[in-house]
Subunit: 342 residues, 2 copies
Amino acid sequence: MAGGPTTPALVAAVSNTGGLGTLGAGYMSPDALRSAIGEIRNFTKRPFAVNLFIPSEPRVPDAVVVDMNQFLDRFRVELGLPLTPAPNMTQRFHEQLQVILDERVPVFSFTFGIPDSEVVAELKARDIAVIGTATTVHEALMLEEIGVDAVVAQGSEAGGHRGTFAHPFEQAMIGTMALVPQVADHVRIPVVASGGIMDGRGIAASLMLGASGVQMGTAFLTAEESGAHPRHKEAVLKSSEDETVVTAAFSGKPARGIRNRFVEEMSQYNGEIPEYPVQNALTQDIRQAAAKLNRDDMMSMWAGQGVRLAKSKSARELMLDWIHQVDTLLCGPAGGSQSARR
Amino acid sequence: MAGGPTTPALVAAVSNTGGLGTLGAGYMSPDALRSAIGEIRNFTKRPFAVNLFIPSEPRVPDAVVVDMNQFLDRFRVELGLPLTPAPNMTQRFHEQLQVILDERVPVFSFTFGIPDSEVVAELKARDIAVIGTATTVHEALMLEEIGVDAVVAQGSEAGGHRGTFAHPFEQAMIGTMALVPQVADHVRIPVVASGGIMDGRGIAASLMLGASGVQMGTAFLTAEESGAHPRHKEAVLKSSEDETVVTAAFSGKPARGIRNRFVEEMSQYNGEIPEYPVQNALTQDIRQAAAKLNRDDMMSMWAGQGVRLAKSKSARELMLDWIHQVDTLLCGPAGGSQSARR
């Protein structure tokens, strides 16, 4: 949920309703991050989290970059953009991390990789809880090893980028129903289920599978407070479960989103798609111009496989609905909360 | 679970413990099917089901068949088999169906397609309950339309063949967590969850998602009564969740199984893999010889993504464990079964 969707208002609304609102800050400048944290703190006194991307530095041959950049010109022509611009390759992880440390953000979560255990120790020394993202049991064990406090088990249903870092991504497309109990059996830290969880039914199901909590992205994408592009929200609300696809076309890293023209034309590209973050830098101008022009045929519209369950309500209403559903499912219609609560 | 695993003893053990044991009879001759039904009836007085494949008749050009048959000779050489045999293309659906009708099997379930509504009406006229298999909401609606009594929602985690019949299969790889509530919201008939469900946690989770029941395959594959090849059982028991793959290499229809040499070498085949049932007929001699010689590098070893949860016990012990787990999860450790039961 990096980029637009997780506005400070959305993060705070989730925290104020008893959840852990999370700012997806992977693409934010240190200044923007600091100011967003300030805004969140104006809106809520409760804990919240900031999520960052762990950087990788792939070696992409120049020719691969040049070829792709020229291929992308077909989209730039339509959008009236300058052709073949130089990519802006800023990687800001260490500056972003410094903001997290300075601001003593209550919870730090990360995806795309595994930080040094010293980073984790530094965060924990400042009482910042640390949550990593795994897509297999093996990755969850690696994260436990470096000292994270909890692990998100990201199932194949999940929208947005795959968090896979220790396998080829296709090998780590494990459905949430299968992934969560297998991870829960192998780690001692709490497991947070994610992928395809869209309402109280998914939350209750995740608790049954052995999760201590859930992470929901797509379910908040269409919330009133979400900063997702209006066309993106519309696309989620009208899509069905078979209309999402995992593609590396936008960023160079596989991510699940709604199939559109950009994804389809890129699938015909014969060359090699440069790895993240190179491809992400190459397509940045196109994605930004497409968003400005409301051209949903060229925007990245991340979404998980649960799209038919998305609803347009305030985050607070969504959460209260889900909590009520979970109470009914786990405690019966009478609402007696003695039995069946974990 | 067609082929070896669902022995009459396994089917009966499941039914005798309160489940609906199902004979996977897709590949059985009418005589073998009739005699297996008789055996099941000797072992149990309770309802059971028979599952068949709905046939399709793809038009595969001769050249595609000839090329593949020659490519497969590399495996035949190692197994000491005659080279390039003529494929045995028997399709027996209508004879198999006649056995189901004659024997008044309590429940008929099917996968791979959608029979004519007259077939469903004929079955129901004899009080045979009918269960179809869907991998998307759209397929579930098609099945409801022809009058099935319940629909299996097959998530992407599931082992064995994809039941997809109305989409390209890649489009219909929806995880169980996302698929079940979306199907449940759109059909009025009961939904049976399948895919990645391996124990009481998965059963309880499925009920939370809105399923009325579950279908479990891989979880019974390693049962003592299962007729799966010993090497297949061993492979399931020692695999991890990232070691299965969806491949059309064995049968021409995508199916999830444990990655082995046959799958890998076939993935390098440059030609077209003939559609099911043609490829299935072409590889039959190889699969059978490999099984006889305990060559698990060439056997098809179907399994779902929940493999780490597989256990070697009797079917009755497995089921009693799961029922106990479900009771504890839904009704609390005290076991009071008033609240939270659906």
